[in-house]
Every structure is written in structure tokens, then in C-alpha cells.
């Protein structure tokens, strides 16, 4: 990197958006194209300040929409350099078309997705609707529980997506407001160390390499489309060992451990909550506190939402008797996606734990340690009886009992 370096303290107090911006700066991204939307706006504002003060030396373009942001990223990535953007909610929805095009062209962009509800009704607060919306777009998806994770995972996103076995774009998810706007202590890497960890960008089929003309974004028919999609799927599967390798290297560098499936108190647990984002940490407190009551409670969270770690999860959940899959997105007429996927992981295994689906926290509604303890207690009853004591799905914390329980 040849831009001005920034002197950072060993411990900084950063919110999640600052973490994103700092990670993009340290990755020395060549082109950042962006459009503002709450709660991810501060990522690009911070980045703009770095740009204005010479701390980044690439191109920063404020485009006229999120669709254009991702379109510019795709063109720039195909030209042969590192690209990134940030968005949330409606912006993510507007990008979706291009997200598919980016992954289909095997271009390793990084998208900092600060998770927020999708309208209508309009709501600027955090839930996982946008993360779910993009789940089949062919992007690798990493999930963070706090600001430190957001910083670490956004850095690692570059290394994972740009790996020669993968060459796919990566979304680095964090919870809107809960992470993006909450100041937390973060231990950043030194600029040089961070950049060297990620490494230089190695272009593949670069449009700016005129010795080898390349055609990007072809048309296929039935004769080839399936094979392209199969290769894309294979590249997503190939991300598992790469993610593991990158997590390992990161641990050696920082001492911070990341796992494809994160678990808390899983050893000997009877019941488990499976969730994403900040809820993980809240649930770990609940699980710890329940030890006194003799409830053996665990928390499990896939760090990788895509590719989804089906086998790893199945293996980890073999001895758990009752599970609550927590989905922070409107169910849209079925069980939540996380429930669906975990059920998919377990259906062919010996263990067939009782599984509840909890839809919670929509539009930024909080979930407390207290509530999570109650959920664990319900699970303990399920585990004891070997069957669900209530209904399969509950809209946790919704007003009006008639809205709360669903038989499905």
C-alpha cells in the first residue's frame, strides 16, 4: 500500500461502521463505489474522510444508486482490481440483480451489509431481512456478533473471496445499530500487518490486460447454463476449507479464534438456541445463567451463512435434544430460513431433535437475556417430553396472542 498510513492504538473505540471503513482502508481497495443508506451510511462517510485525507489512494465514487454502486463494482472488478461497497435494506434489495451478476461472473467483491428490515412498513432498524434476501445470490456470507468481528471478518472477506480456489464475492454482515452504531473496544491490526495478511490483489481475466482480450458476462443457453451454475456451486463449496485456513491464519496472527460454526457450552448440552448476529452473545449470557437451574443450554451460530455449513452443524448437534432456531426475518408464509436449513441438516441423521422456530426481533425489536432464558426453559421442557410442548412456530414478542403461534 502506498497511501498514508494511520497510527492506530492497540485498542480503539469503534462502532461497526468504523470497523468496516477501517478494514476497507487497510485492504487498500482500488475502487469503492457507494450510495448512502441507514444504518450503513457511516461506513462510506468514514471511508470518504479517509479518501479526503489521503489515507486511501484508490478511486472513491459516490454513484446515483445502490444498483449503480454494485454495477460499477462489477465493471471495476472485471477490469482487474479490488472493489468494495456497503449497503443495507432497500439498498441491498436494489442491488440484488447485480449481486447475482457479480457472483455469476466470479468476481471477488466485498459488500459490507449492515443488516436492516425491509419495507413495508418502512423501518430503519436492524433485522436480518436483507441478509435473507441475498441468501441465494451466490455470495459467501460471513456473520459478525460484535464490532471486533465486523472488523476482522471484513478483512478476512477479501482473503477468502480472492482465494484462487474460490474467486467469489463476499458479504460481511453485521447487525444494524446494535453493531453498526454501538461503540465498542476493538483491537485493530497495524496497517502494514492487515494489508500483508490479505495480500496483493491478483487479477484474473482482467479487462485492462490487453495482451489477452476477455469476454465477461456471456449469454448461455440450456447447453451450458447448468454447468456454469454447477461450477459456481462447487466454488462455494470450495470456500469451506479456504475459510478454515483463513480463520486459522488469522488466529495465528491475532489470537482471535473464529469457527465456521461457533458454539458456546455445547459439550453435554441438552438444549440449544441457533441464531445469527448479536443475539449470539446475548444468548451466551442466558445459557451461562441457566447453569444454576440445572439446564444444560448451548448457543450455536453458523459464522458462515453461505455456503451453509450443513454437515458441520449436523455433526455438532448430534446430542442436543431440543433446539430453537431463531429467525430475525419475517417468515413469509413458512418456517424461517435458518429453521429450514438446520432441519435440512438434521433430517438424515440419527439424532432428530425437537425443533422450534422462533421469529423474533423484527424491525429492531430487542431480545433480552431474560427472554432468551425463557426460551431455553421451554426447550428444556421439550427435551424432557421428547416433543414440542407448544406450536412449531412462535412469533416471539409480537403483540396480540392471536398473532403469536403457528401450527404450519
Amino acid at each position: 500500500m502506498n497511501s498514508k498510513q494511520m497510527e492506530l492504538n492497540e485498542v480503539e473505540v469503534w462502532d461497526g461502521n468504523t470497523c468496516n471503513a477501517q478494514a476497507l482502508r487497510q485492504a487498500s481497495v482500488d475502487v469503492v463505489a457507494a450510495y448512502p443508506i441507514t444504518p450503513s451510511t457511516n461506513t462510506v462517510e468514514n471511508y470518504a474522510t479517509f479518501h479526503a485525507n489521503g489515507y486511501v489512494d484508490g478511486e472513491f465514487i459516490m454513484v446515483e444508486s445502490e444498483h449503480a454502486a454494485m454495477s460499477a463494482c462489477v465493471g471495476a472488478a472485471a477490469a482487474g482490481g479490488r472493489v468494495a461497497t456497503a449497503t443495507s435494506s432497500q439498498g441491498c434489495a436494489l442491488m440484488v440483480e447485480v449481486l447475482y451478476q457479480c457472483s455469476g461472473m466470479r468476481l471477488p467483491a466485498v459488500l459490507c451489509l449492515v443488516n436492516r428490515a425491509l419495507a413495508a412498513p418502512l423501518n430503519v432498524n436492524g433485522d436480518h431481512s436483507d441478509m435473507y434476501l441475498t441468501r441465494d445470490a451466490g455470495w459467501i456470507q460471513l456473520d459478525s456478533f460484535n464490532a471486533q468481528n465486523a472488523y476482522d471478518l471484513t478483512l478476512m472477506a477479501f482473503k477468502i473471496g480472492e482465494h484462487m480456489d474460490v474467486r467469489l464475492p463476499v458479504i460481511s454482515n453485521q447487525d444494524g445499530f446494535l453493531t453498526s452504531h454501538t461503540a465498542q473496544t476493538v483491537r485493530p491490526l497495524k496497517d502494514e500487518v492487515a494489508y500483508n495478511f490479505i495480500g496483493d490483489y491478483v487479477p484474473v481475466n482482467a479487462m485492462l490486460d490487453f495482451s489477452k482480450p476477455v469476454t465477461h458476462g456471456v449469454q448461455t443457453e440450456h447447453d451450458w447454463h447448468f454447468e456454469h451454475k454447477a461450477k459456481q456451486h462447487a466454488a462455494l463449496q470450495a470456500a469451506f476449507p479456504v475459510v478454515e485456513e483463513v480463520f486459522k491464519e488469522f488466529k495465528e496472527l491475532t489470537g482471535r479464534e473464529y469457527n465456521i460454526v461457533e458454539t458456546h457450552n455445547l459439550e453435554g448440552a441438552d438444549v440449544a438456541i441457533i441464531c445469527l448476529g448479536t443475539t449470539y452473545e446475548t444468548a451466551t449470557i442466558a445459557a451461562d445463567e441457566l447453569k444454576e437451574e440445572g439446564i444444560k443450554a448451548a448457543v450455536v451460530s453458523p459464522r458462515l451463512f453461505r455456503p451453509f455449513p450443513l454437515t458441520q452443524l449436523a455433526q455438532k448437534l448430534q446430542n442436543v435434544k431440543a433446539i430453537a432456531c431463531m429467525d430475525r426475518s419475517a417468515p413469509g408464509g413458512t418456517v424461517g430460513a435458518l429453521y429450514n436449513e438446520v432441519a435440512g441438516a438434521l433430517i438424515n441423521t440419527e439424532a432428530r431433535p425437537v425443533m422450534r422456530n422462533l421469529i423474533y426481533g423484527l424491525g429492531g425489536r430487542d431480545i433480552t437475556v431474560h427472554e432468551l432464558k425463557d426460551i431455553f426453559r421451554d426447550l428444556a421442557k421439550d427435551a424432557e417430553n421428547g416433543k414440542i410442548t407448544g406450536k412449531i412456530q412462535r412469533l416471539h414478542g409480537v403483540r396480540g396472542p392471536e398473532l403469536s403461534f403457528y401450527e404450519l
Binding site: N2, D30, V31, A33, D57, G58, E59, I61, V63, E64, S65, H67, A68, S71, A72, C73, V74, G75, A76, A77, A78, A79, G80, G81, V83, E97, V98, Q101, M105, M207, L208, F210, P213, V214, T215, H216, G217, V218, Q219, T220, E221, W224, H228
Partner: protein, 318 residues
């Protein structure tokens, strides 16, 4: 214009190394291919080309084949301009960072889009690119219809044309609105150079393309692209249809430099009546029914008025 070819005649022009080659499946007689060849042959510089979804794109890059012997990208229907803007930004970034050496000649960035991609769905993206001032050329292949999806109207479709979504029928004469004046709109964006071209007037076209390539900033070219399939003439009649368009002044050839200097670049010796232009194309067949003929007169008046307007602007240097 250091790297641009010296083009004296058709022979020097056509012996240039081709960067748009065979293996495409555009209809026989499609003007898109003629225009693209003329644009690419006008320069020796390295090219980064983008295409929006449409006939050109679906017919020239069908895996595992490609017609493009240059860097090429297609993303979607609306964002061909922004793809090229992104590539242009990357070129700048990599030069700034020293990853492309300053001795490497600057490439040219070109985006092609149909009139649907340009006048309608991609308008916002093009507007954004022009406002940001990317150093690129946008070429609209204006066949006045959504050809690739089978002939629906666009906001470039002229009044009275029969299309699949604005068909002429017992109570309709087809398209009800006038074609959007895209050139003026793009000039109003502050574009340093905009021009209208037609493939039959190839010398005029090559000159404008070279002028465009020599201009820093976003350049807009509106190229009349006769479509044998949707305008419904015979494949060997493409140039005749184009001649009628420019000689009737339905599609006048002119340029606007810096939004303030308008030059008419072609003045037909014998101006052909609009009626002849319309009569050549079965998409206007129904206009010759007695109840619709008034539209032909109105059309002629409109064309006359616009020609006068262009001449006055040229004279006044505005």
C-alpha cells in the same frame, strides 16, 4: 488522436484489424453490426467495451463463442454504462497506484446500448455516469424499438409506428407519442461532445467517433440503427432505409460541442419527403390509410420545423 487510424477511404478503413468479428448471430442486414464495426475500426487504441442486454449482447457473446477481440463486458440491461464507468475508475486507480505503468497507452472505454437500454431503463445510470464525468463514450444503437424481446415500443419509438405493445388496430394508429430527444438531453448533462450518426454516412460517423475518442469526458453518440426485423424491410435494404432516414431529415446528422456549438454535419442535396421514408417501412403501412394520412403531414411539419431549429442554432453558434 495519436493512435487513431488515418482513414482516407473505404479501403483503408476496411483493411483495419477487426475487433468485432464473425460468429455473431445478428439478423442478416442488422445495422447494429455495421455501427459497431465502424466504431471499433475508428481507433487503434486498446478498447474496453460494454454492452447492455439487447440484440447486440445476446447475439455476440454466446458461450463458448465471442465476436469480440477486445476487452468486453455485459452485466445487465440498464447498467452497461456504469460497468464501463467502473472499469474506467479502475484504470485510474491502478495508474495512481502504479500498478499500470504510465508508459502504457490509455485505453478507450465504450458502452453500447439499444434505445431501450438508453432512453428508458438505463437512463438513470447513463445520467449518473455523465454527471460524474467518466472518460467514456456511450453509443446508443437506436433502432427505435425493443428488438431483442420481439418488437415492443420504447420511448424512442416514433409516433405512428406499429409495435407489439403499441399496435396499429381499428381504433389505434400505433405509437402515440413522439420520440424522446435524447441528444439534447445528453448535451444538457454538460457532455463535452454529443453527436447523431448513421452507418450509411460512414465517413461522417468515423470522424465523429474519432472526435469523441479525442474528447476527455463522457461522450454520447446516438446511432440510427435500421432493424430489418422490426422495421420490416428486406435484409439487403439496410443502407437504403438508412439513406431515406438521413435524406428525409427524419434523422438529421449533427453534433453539439460543449453544449453550445451545434454543427450540422450532413445536408442532403435532395431532401426526400418524409412520406418516402415512411412508405419504405411496413411498420408505418397503416399511416397511408385515408383516416391516418394527416399524421404523415404532421410528421413532415415536425421534421421541417426541427431542421429549421437546428439550422438556426448552428447559425447562432449555440
Amino acid at each position: 488522436m495519436s493512435n487513431q487510424k488515418v482513414i482516407k477511404n473505404l479501403k483503408t478503413f476496411s483493411t483495419a484489424a477487426e475487433r468485432f468479428e464473425g460468429s455473431h448471430v445478428l439478423c442478416p442486414g442488422c445495422a447494429h453490426s455495421i455501427i459497431v464495426r465502424e466504431v471499433l475500426n475508428a481507433t487503434n487504441d486498446n478498447l474496453v467495451v460494454g454492452a447492455s442486454t439487447g440484440c447486440l449482447e445476446v447475439c455476440t457473446a454466446i458461450y463458448p463463442h465471442t465476436s469480440w477481440d477486445c476487452s468486453w463486458i455485459h452485466i445487465g440491461f440498464e447498467n452497461g454504462s456504469t460497468a464501463i464507468a467502473g472499469a474506467e475508475a479502475m484504470n485510474k486507480a491502478l495508474r495512481k497506484k502504479g500498478r499500470i505503468s504510465p508508459d502504457t497507452p490509455e485505453p478507450k472505454f465504450v458502452a453500447f446500448g439499444g434505445d431501450g437500454a438508453t432512453y428508458d431503463i438505463g437512463f438513470q445510470w447513463i445520467s449518473g455516469c455523465f454527471e460524474r464525468g467518466h472518460d467514456m463514450m456511450y453509443v446508443c444503437l437506436d433502432n427505435e424499438v425493443y428488438a431483442n424481446t420481439g418488437g415492443q415500443r420504447s420511448s424512442s419509438t416514433p409516433i405512428g409506428a406499429s409495435t407489439t405493445t403499441a399496435p396499429a388496430g381499428s381504433t389505434s394508429y400505433g405509437e402515440k407519442r413522439n420520440k424522446k430527444d435524447m441528444l439534447q438531453i445528453m448535451a444538457a448533462h454538460g457532455s463535452p461532445y454529443v453527436a447523431q450518426v448513421a452507418p450509411n454516412k460512414w465517413k461522417d460517423m468515423v470522424k465523429k467517433i474519432q472526435k469523441g475518442f479525442a474528447t476527455k469526458g463522457p461522450v454520447f453518440i446516438n446511432a440510427m440503427s435500421a432493424c430489418t426485423t422490426e422495421w420490416k424491410f428486406q435484409p439487403h435494404e439496410t443502407i437504403e432505409a438508412s439513406d431515406l432516414a438521413v435524406d428525409s431529415l427524419v434523422f438529421p446528422l449533427y453534433e453539439i460541442v460543449d453544449g453550445t456549438e451545434l454543427n450540422i454535419t450532413y445536408r442532403p442535396k435532395n431532401i426526400v419527403p418524409v412520406r418516402d421514408y415512411l412508405a419504405f417501412q411496413p411498420r408505418f403501412k397503416h399511416l397511408f390509410k385515408p383516416e391516418n394520412e394527416y399524421l404523415i403531414d404532421e410528421w413532415q411539419k415536425r421534421v421541417d420545423k426541427y431542421w429549421e431549429y437546428l439550422q438556426r442554432r448552428e447559425e447562432a453558434r449555440v
